[in-house]
Amino acid sequence: MAKITFVEFNGTEHEVEAEEGTTLMEAAINNMVPGIDADCGGACACATCMIYVPAEMAAKIPEAEDMETTMIDFAENADATSRLSCQITVTPELDGAKVKLPESQH
């Protein structure tokens, strides 16, 4: 288990227990965090599970693969720190991480 905090666009924080081996998207959905739609259920096909990852956390996770990078590149509200949460696997190193959510996923 790793504690992850999702910060909504309006600043509301949700600290959740994320199970190792699952994805950050699933951690959000399973804990009813608003602001992650995940329409395709993690297939890297919709870009509605976008989050902003701070640099110190980005260093602890594998870089995005091509498919993810290009999806983000064309997603609304995306910036250089954006990642798709369905492509990030929870590991113990992520304990205590804080990620931000966009204003909307569409």
Partner: protein, 413 residues
């Protein structure tokens, strides 16, 4: 009577409607009645990662079990709604219950079309719609076993892709002269035929299955009407679906190729709404009525129905999109290509594994098929929505990137 929304069916659309009702602030009771033994789950993984054994059941649930408790959604699983008594605003169930509603949502989805040829009931003849279907198919996943997939639609081809990776000998029988004929252009079809051949799947076109043959109740062979036959340890039939409309029909609601609803997901009885695969709905962006089989449609209609019940107008107006995963290929489709008069190819489908097709009708972009091409898909969404009109040479030109392309389309309109 107190407010009580009853949802018939416990699939993707039902799950979304329940979640959206609470998000919209609905504080009455919600009762969800489903005939399967499971909480709402996602079907796409059933022919993809779940079939491949890469996901546990918990990971295909639409929402975790705790959600229904927290959102105060009463679940009645393993229960079929057998009748809607509109005058009494009550539904009757297979378990002998009568449940009153103030609003009713029909989220009955669809069922597989069966192939009623001799031998249809042999052990080894499978369909793919539910978690239980997957278990049956997986029990035959032994290296060297022979699988015949009947129907070269996207579900059949996804199954073929998963099975061949497991060392299974796979043959796909398709009646039409090309695979995925219902959804894509021949360019995309032949691309997928090439890839499946490269991966070791045999595709036989123009093959009409006439019977299944077996020994001691177990399937051994698939016979076609041209007298060809194929040895098989198991079969997966994927020849389309039928919307579950009978309940609505028996209640006297308008039904024609789906349960007829308006842009707010209301049926011909405004207190009864219908969402997802079972609906025939208007699409104001496309200017026509559609019945769709897609997650997007199930989710968005779930949201619209919830808003309607809560007195908020949220017109269902979406450009359809869809995806299919086969091997390392992600096909993303936006729009509906039916009726196109020109298909413009970007990239080379005869070589490699990435290209896109833009479908034009009278010069206007109506759909995009993108294979491992997220930029074409993402910008395609904008361009189809905006009715982009760009010359074919421009669309084909890979020295123009897709962001520039979308901007050019916007400037030109």
């Amino acid at each position: 009577m107190t407010n009580q929304v009853v949802i018939v069916g416990a699939g993707h659309a039902a799950g979304q409607a329940a979640a959206s009702l609470r998000q919209e602030g609905y504080d009455g009771k919600i009762v969800m009645i489903g005939d399967e033994p499971y909480l709402p789950y996602q079907r796409p993984p059933l022919s993809k990662k779940f079939l491949a054994g890469e996901l546990s059941i918990e990971r295909v649930y639409f929402k975790p079990p705790a959600f229904y408790e927290k959102a105060d959604v009463e679940q009645k699983l393993n229960t079929t709604v057998t009748e809607i008594e509109r005058a009494q605003r009550t539904v009757h169930t297979s378990t002998g219950e009568s449940i009153p509603y103030s609003k009713l949502i029909l989220a009955t989805g669809s069922r597989v079309r069966e192939l009623n040829v001799p031998g249809f009931d042999l052990d080894g003849v499978n369909y793919l719609r539910t978690i239980d279907d997957v278990s049956k198919i997986q029990s035959k996943f032994k290296e060297g076993n022979k699988l015949v997939v009947v129907g070269g639609g996207y579900i059949g081809l996804e199954v073929a892709a998963v099975a061949v990776k497991r060392g299974i000998d796979v043959t796909v029988l398709e009646m039409a002269p090309m695979v995925m004929a219902r959804v894509v252009d021949p360019i995309v079809s032949s691309f997928y035929e090439r890839i499946h051949a490269e991966e070791g799947v045999k595709i036989v076109k123009g093959a009409a299955v006439s019977s299944f043959e077996g020994q001691d109740g177990k399937l051994t062979r698939v016979n076609c009407s041209d007298n060809t036959n194929f040895d098989a340890d198991f079969v997966v039939v994927g020849v389309g679906i039928l919307p579950n409309v009978e309940l609505a029909q028996a209640a006297g609601l308008d039904v024609e190729n789906g349960i007829i609803v308006n842009e707010f997901c209301q049926t011909s009885d405004p207190d009864i709404l219908a969402i997802g695969d079972c609906t025939n709905h208007p699409n104001p962006l496309l200017g026509e009525r559609l019945r769709l089989e897609s997650v997007q449609n199930a989710l968005e209609q779930g949201k619209t129905a919830a808003a309607t019940i809560c007195g908020r107008e949220l017109v269902y107006a979406q450009i359809p999109w869809f995806w299919s995963d086969q091997y390392d290929l992600k096909l993303q489709i936006v729009g509906l290509s039916a009726g196109y008069d020109e298909a413009v190819v970007r990239g080379n489908p005869d070589d490699g594994r990435s290209f896109a097709v833009f479908y034009l009708k009278e010069g206007k972009m109506i759909a995009v098929d993108a294979v491992n091409r997220p930029p074409e898909f993402m910008m395609g969404k904008l361009m189809v929505a905006g009715g982009a009109k760009l010359p074919a040479e421009t669309l084909r030109d890979e020295s123009i990137n897709m962001k520039e392309m979308a901007q050019m389309a916007k400037d030109a309109s």
